[in-house]
Amino acid sequence: MTVGLEHYLIVSVMLFCLGLLGVIIRRNLIVMYMGLELMLNAANLALVSFSHFRDNLDGQVMVFFIITVAAAEVAVGLALIVALYRKRQTNDVTDLTSMKL
């Protein structure tokens, strides 16, 4: 059996769904954050596989950008979480409902 594009894509979708579930279900902000990263990486995987199978480097270039942006996002996001924790002494999202009017 040769490993084709669809296999990569299936793995990518599974990773994406795991990440999404993590974001939606888990209460811990750090874990939700990991879910987000997982979703980004699922997209990266899909882009890389498309790039490989279509002999087009555009997808890989895109992935570089995504990795860069993700790194920046992690820096900002983790800083926010730390700041939030300092202020509220919690990182459980069920306690953070101040967006409600």
Binding site: L20, V23, I24, I25, R27, V93, L96, K100
Partner: protein
């Protein structure tokens, strides 16, 4: 400017002077009583001078149409020659001009209005001397004269309607002059609203005339329009000239100051309706004329009957005015505009005299208006009573006084065209003589019945002067030698003239003798005992006011209840509260989604995204 142009401009000057005076008084001189009165009196007196000049120099000659100064107020259709706009069939353009009309009829009317106006101003100088609203009174008086002159000089129906409404509002101001007295305030409102009912008809009539004759210019209306249009135009006259069934406002309007009654309710405003009818005479069909004549006759008869059992001296005169206006309208209905204008002129003189005389009596008796509280005034107020009696005789149609000739003309007109109306007219002549005899005998003869009457003393000269002038006119105005009838183009028919002469004289004599017999030495009114129910009906004005109140109760209050229900439940309930309620409920529902929980939002975002995906893909 040449001499010609100046003369053409004169009617406009007469029209504008009172307006200028009214504006000056209301804006600047309200605090200076004498100055205000002087301005107002001066404006109308100059107007009188100009009117006499116009009347004397131009006589019956007609200026060519369209030569008088004008400005175009409104133009519809072809505005310029090179920009044709779509217009109605048979009509290229339409313009409403504000233009004065200078013909024999308007010159005569101009003279009447400014003449009576001047005398009333002079009379008011004394009568209103102690009034707190002295300046306001003269301002309103000037404004009224302006509006009335506007009607007289109108060259088209739209312009006439504008001034028609101005007369309505200024008469409201004058009737409610003593606005802190509820009766006066109500009377003003009543006059205004009753007039408004007629005016709606008038406006509709003007629109119909415009539709059917393609013009509202009085000079260019040459043919008949439909009966409906004619009757709607007549509606305006029914309101202003207080004809049945809109006659109810005139007696109540007696709440105004007495000089106002003399000006508005004898000589000018109520004459406007008759004048207007005479102006647009050509557009009435025979059917419309028949109805007009009968309305006039009914008014004349009913009002004369009501006058018999009134006790307030001003109300007697008010009903008598109604009755005489009915006479004039009847004359118009019988095709006799000349007779109507003739009677209008003489009536203006003797009725203004009677009203001013009544004013003098009221002034002398310290605001006592009930004739049964007077009596014996002949000795105390000898000059006033002589003038009053002359006026009463003229009104009653005493031979060779002015009223005799004009009444004769109307009766002749009725005899020529409508025999039944002729006999109603004769009956009214008899009744008129009767109630005037009653009024004079009770108020001026016999012995004084109250202290007020005993202590009455002659009024000052400024008040007497207008009375004496008017008395002279009341005596001589109708005489053939004066030539008023000839000026109006009145033509006599031998047979009808004789019938009118004989029957009219008989009726007047019977009325006067009857009145003398009944009221010779009466201390109380003997009629209620003799006539019973009929007398009560006369005294209570045939219950027209009550009938209207009842009608109001049924129609207006039902309507207002329905409107209230509609407003409360449909507009406020369904419309306003319904809308706000729907938004409220939606808001409550939507609020449930806004939990503030980050993960709920994420889930909803995903669901939304998935549904969009599904919608795109499948």
């Amino acid at each position: 400017m040449s001499k010609e142009q100046i003369i053409r401009f004169l009617p406009t000057a007469v029209l504008l002077l009172p307006l200028i005076s009214a504006v000056l008084i209301l804006l600047f001189t309200k605090r200076y009583r004498q100055l205000s009165a002087g301005l107002s009196t001066g404006a109308v007196a100059i107007g009188l001078g100009i009117s006499i000049f116009l009347f004397a120099t131009q006589g019956v000659e007609k200026t060519e149409a369209g030569s008088d100064p004008k400005f175009t107020w409104l133009s519809i259709g072809l505005v310029e020659n090179d920009s044709p706009l779509p217009t109605a069939v048979g009509q290229e353009s339409f313009a409403i001009d504000i233009q004065t009309l200078n013909d024999p009829m308007s010159r005569l009317m101009l003279l009447i209005v400014t003449f009576i106006g001047t005398l009333v101003h002079v009379f008011s100088l004394v009568y209103m001397r102690k009034d707190i609203g002295f300046s306001r009174y003269f301002g309103a008086l000037s404004f009224f004269v302006f509006s009335m002159l506007g009607i007289v000089l109108s060259s088209n129906l739209i312009m006439m309607f504008i001034f028609w409404e101005l007369v309505g509002i200024s008469s409201y101001l004058l009737i409610s002059h003593w606005f802190d007295k509820p009766a006066a305030a109500d009377a003003g409102k009543k006059a205004f609203i009753t007039n408004r009912i007629g005016d709606v008809g008038f406006l509709l009539g003007i629109l119909l005339v415009w539709q059917q004759a393609y013009t509202v210019n009085i000079a260019s209306i040459t043919g008949q329009v439909s009966t409906l249009a004619g009757l709607l135009i007549f509606c305006g006259a029914v309101g202003k000239s207080a004809q049945f069934p809109l006659h109810v406002w005139l007696p109540d309007a007696m709440e105004g100051p007495t000089p106002v009654s003399a000006l508005i309710h004898a000589a000018t405003m109520v004459a406007a309706g008759v004048y207007m009818l005479c102006r647009v005479m050509v557009l009435f069909t025979p059917d419309a004329l028949l109805i007009i004549a009968w309305i006039g006759a009914i008014t004349a008869l009913l009002a004369a009957l009501m006058a018999i059992q009134q006790n307030d001296i001003k109300r007697i005169l008010a009903y008598s005015t109604l009755s005489q206006l009915g006479y004039m309208v009847m004359a118009v209905g019988c095709g006799g505009t000349e007779a109507a204008m003739f009677h209008l002129t003489t009536h203006a003189a003797f009725k203004a005299l009677l009203f001013l005389g009544a004013g003098a009596v009221i002034y002398a008796c310290h605001h006592e208006q009930d004739i049964w509280n007077m009596g014996g005034l002949r000795h105390k107020l000898s000059k006033t009573s002589i003038t009053f009696i002359i006026g009463a005789l003229a009104l009653a149609g005493f031979p060779l006084l002015s009223g005799f000739f004009s009444k004769d003309a109307i009766l002749m007109q009725a005899h020529l065209n409508q025999k039944p109306l002729f006999f109603i007219g004769v009956a009214v002549a008899g009744l008129t003589a009767f109630y005037m005899m009653r009024c004079v005998l009770v108020a001026f003869f016999g012995k004084a019945r109250t202290d007020q009457a005993k202590e009455a003393h002659e009024v000052p000269g400024e008040m007497l002067l207008p009375l004496i002038i008017l008395a002279l006119f009341s005596v001589f105005l109708g005489a053939p030698q004066i030539g008023l009838a000839g000026y109006l183009g009145f033509e006599e028919d031998k047979a009808s003239h004789h019938a009118a002469l004989i029957w009219g004289t008989i009726a007047a004599s019977v009325g006067m003798i009857g009145g003398y017999m009944v009221y010779r030495n009466a201390d109380t009114d003997p009629l209620p005992a003799k006539l019973g129910v009929l007398s009560r009906w006369m005294r209570d004005r045939f219950y027209f006011d009550e009938l209207y109140a009842l009608l109001n109760h049924w129609t207006q209050e039902t309507l207002s209840y329905a409107s209230n229900w509609f407003d409360r439940w449909i507009i406020a309930g369904l419309g306003v509260k319904g809308t706000s309620g729907a938004i409220d409920v939606t808001g409550c529902l939507v609020r449930l989604f806004q939990s503030g929980n980050l993960q709920t939002y994420a889930l909803l975002t995903v669901i939304g995204l998935l549904s969009i995906l599904a919608w795109i893909l499948f």
